[in-house]
């Protein structure tokens, strides 16, 4: 084993100048690729932060088709979103996920007790899936409750920010009542009546205690948001199939947005996304990212070609050594193995050196580079570092294969 290790190290020490060239090629390539990656991350962050309101998120809000009529009131004529629609949306190319908001199609009302104050109001309730409101659920307890649809203190609910604002700016101001601080709302208990409102009352109407899990900016309805499972159960209890108020379609990438929008429109539904300026910014973002991807590809190709040429030279300059090794009884497999190990070690060391070089250089870059409105983030994440190290190790190995195979087939055993 030690003997084999010695021969591997001997191979590593061979053709030092060419090894140095390969080392430099990989080092520079890795440094450039990491720099481009940092550039890409910062550019995308800059776009997202500066044009947050103008850029369309990778989400599309799908609403039922609009009812058009000559009269003020009309039967629902637009296309309704149901579970079948949700499945169709999920099957559109480029769709990552679909979160639907299910309306309770029964009358409902809420009664809030606060010391001597009692406030009763009709309201609508909507069920939201866990994935859509996960970020609004602050405690693990509430996250678990949302998944199961129930909590020991009652049905967990999220209060839309729009509803709180309406109360604070309308009802509270008009009646000299205290305003609600959204962050302090969690934990408030109240009573909700399902199947009963000031307009109508169903036979199976029932009251249920509820507990506020927090507030949400994501669903702007003047009603309460309850777990999707609870909404489905209540609808079922009253013999209702349920009707989706809207569905949030998340795209895998911005580039799919236009295609998805087109298909949803063709299905007869209304959609909401950012408009006008956003398309320009998305195009700019896409162009810059494509350019960066092209540069990274170009650097990778150049690194592969350079390393391949270096490996051909390295193998050819050492062919006498390999021929002697063959004459002394080394198998092709062993010779090939030592060459591959040599390039793998070189690749790994040069990649690691590239990562270290960029890591050290970034502090100087931060000091030297100052762009108004742009906060540079020069962190290299672990996953990207691993990818760079793996690629940096494999590229020289793969690049040296043609030279090794050519040597084996045509040159090695000619004395």
């Amino acid at each position: 084993m030690i003997s084999k290790l010695y021969l591997t190290l001997k191979e590593l020490a061979g053709s030092r100048f060419i090894s140095f060239v390969v080392f430099c090629v990989i080092l520079l390539s890795v440094s450039a690729i990491i720099s481009f990656n940092i550039l890409s991350v910062n550019f995308n962050n800059y776009i997202s932060n500066r044009f947050a309101s103008a850029i369309p998120p990778d989400e599309i809000k799908v609403k039922p088709g609009e009812t058009r009529s000559l009269f003020l009131f009309s039967p629902a004529a637009g296309k309704v979103i149901d579970s079948k629609t949700v499945n169709q949306l999920r099957n559109i190319n480029g769709v990552k996920s679909v979160d639907s908001i299910l309306a309770l199609t029964i009358p409902s009302s809420a009664t809030i007790y606060f010391w001597s104050f009692q406030y009763n109001t009709d309201l609508i309730c909507a069920g939201a899936s866990y994935g859509y409101v996960e970020k609004d659920l602050k405690t693990a307890e509430m996250r678990t409750a949302w998944k199961t649809g129930t909590h020991e203190k009652g049905i967990p609910v999220l209060v839309p920010r729009a509803l709180i604002d309406s109360y604070n700016n309308g009802l509270a101001a008009a009646n000299n009542l205290p305003e609600i601080v959204p962050e302090k709302l969690a934990g408030l208990k109240f009573r909700v009546s399902f199947g009963k409102s000031s307009v109508s009352k169903l036979n199976d109407a029932f009251d249920s205690s509820s507990v506020v899990a927090g507030y949400t900016n994501g669903i702007n309805i003047t009603g309460l948001v309850i777990p999707l499972k609870a909404a489905e159960d209540i609808n079922r209890k009253f013999g209702q199939k349920g009707r989706y108020m809207f569905a949030i379609v998340k795209a895998k990438d911005h580039k799919y947005i236009e295609g998805i929008k087109k298909q949803i429109k063709n299905m007869g539904y209304s959609i909401e996304t950012g408009e006008s300026l956003s398309a320009e910014i998305v195009r700019l973002k896409s162009t810059v990212n494509t350019f960066i991807a092209l540069m990274v590809s170009l650097i990778t190709i150049l690194a592969v070609v350079s390393t391949a040429l270096c490996s051909v030279t390295a193998v050819w300059t050492r062919i006498d050594y390999y021929r002697i090794m063959r004459a002394l009884g080394a198998s092709k497999l062993f010779i090939g193995f030592t060459i591959l190990v040599k390039f793998a070690i070189m690749g790994f060391l040069s990649s690691a050196a590239g990562v270290i070089a960029v890591t050290y250089a970034k502090d100087y870059v931060v000091q030297a580079l100052s762009i108004p409105g742009l906060r540079l983030s020069l962190e290299i994440n672990a996953a990207f570092t691993s990818t760079v190290l793996i690629a940096g190790t494999l590229i020289p190995v793969i690049s040296s294969l043609p030279a090794i195979l050519r040597m084996f087939w045509a040159k090695l055993d000619r004395y």
Binding site: M1, I2, S3, K4, Y6, L7, D320, Y321, R323, I324, M325, R326, A327, L328, G329, A330, S331, K332, L333, F334, D413, Y415
Partner: protein, 237 residues
């Protein structure tokens, strides 16, 4: 000159290698050229067999076939009761490493490495290069008169010294067969005789030696001598 002194008179020598009906041709410029034609040869323990012939008559091809570098079109070789399997590079490499020691006219030494490093290479390839092997290598260098050059780079040695190192390297793994391809080609007459004396010493230790040579001295002192012409082997002595 002594003849196989280790084997008592009257005792049949063991066959180390036998070549049976070896045939090899090459296609050169569209023409089929037969290089070796139905060649059979036996090599016994502790004997020197010399082969001579014009350049390009197939002598080196024969050595390459024995070492497994070139595959014959027909026929087979048995080395120490094992039939050579040409399809397995690992098998052939192991055979070259353990059973065959090779000596080349161009020495084929690692010129940037020391004498002892060169000597240890076959052992390192074998995977056994411990202290015992190193001591054995030093002992061989003593026998070949190269003790004082143990840590000298082989690139600095003379032709005769290099060939002594090459011979020492050929026997470090204790092979039963030594193939020498014109070991004296680049050496003067005196050095050539010294090299042959070393080979005789190895023969006396029981090694079988197959030499390809043009030198009259070696042909005269070999146990058997053959000439190769148009791929056919003819015994001279």
């Amino acid at each position: 000159m002594g003849r196989s002194r280790k084997t008592p008179v009257g005792v049949e020598k063991k066959t180390i290698m036998s070549l049976n009906g070896i045939h090899k041709h090459f296609n050169i410029a569209g023409n089929r050229v037969t290089v070796i034609d139905n060649l059979s040869l036996e090599l016994k323990e502790g004997e020197i067999v010399a082969i001579t012939g014009k350049s390009g008559c197939g002598k080196s091809t024969l050595l390459n076939i024995i070492t497994g570098i070139t595959r014959p079109d027909d026929g087979h070789i048995v080395l120490k009761d094992k039939r050579i399997r040409y399809w397995s590079d690992i098998f052939m490499s192991r055979l070259r490493n353990r059973e065959i020691g090779q000596i080349f006219q161009t020495f084929r030494l690692l010129e940037d490495d020391t004498v002892i490093t060169n000597l240890m290479m076959p052992a390192r390839i074998k995977g056994r290069a411990g202290r015992a092997v190193r001591e054995y290598a030093l002992e061989i260098l003593g026998r070949t008169g190269m003790s004082e050059f143990v840590n000298t780079r082989t690139g600095l040695l003379s032709g005769g010294q290099k060939q002594r190192v090459a011979i020492s390297r050929a026997i470090v793994n204790k092979p039963s067969l030594i193939l020498a391809d014109e070991p004296d080609a680049n050496l003067d007459a005196a050095t050539s005789q010294e090299i042959f004396k070393l080979l005789e010493m190895l023969r006396d230790e029981g090694k079988s030696i197959l030499i390809v040579t043009h030198k009259e001295y070696m042909l005269k002192n070999a146990d058997r001598t053959y000439t190769m012409e148009n791929g056919i082997l003819r015994q001279l002595k």
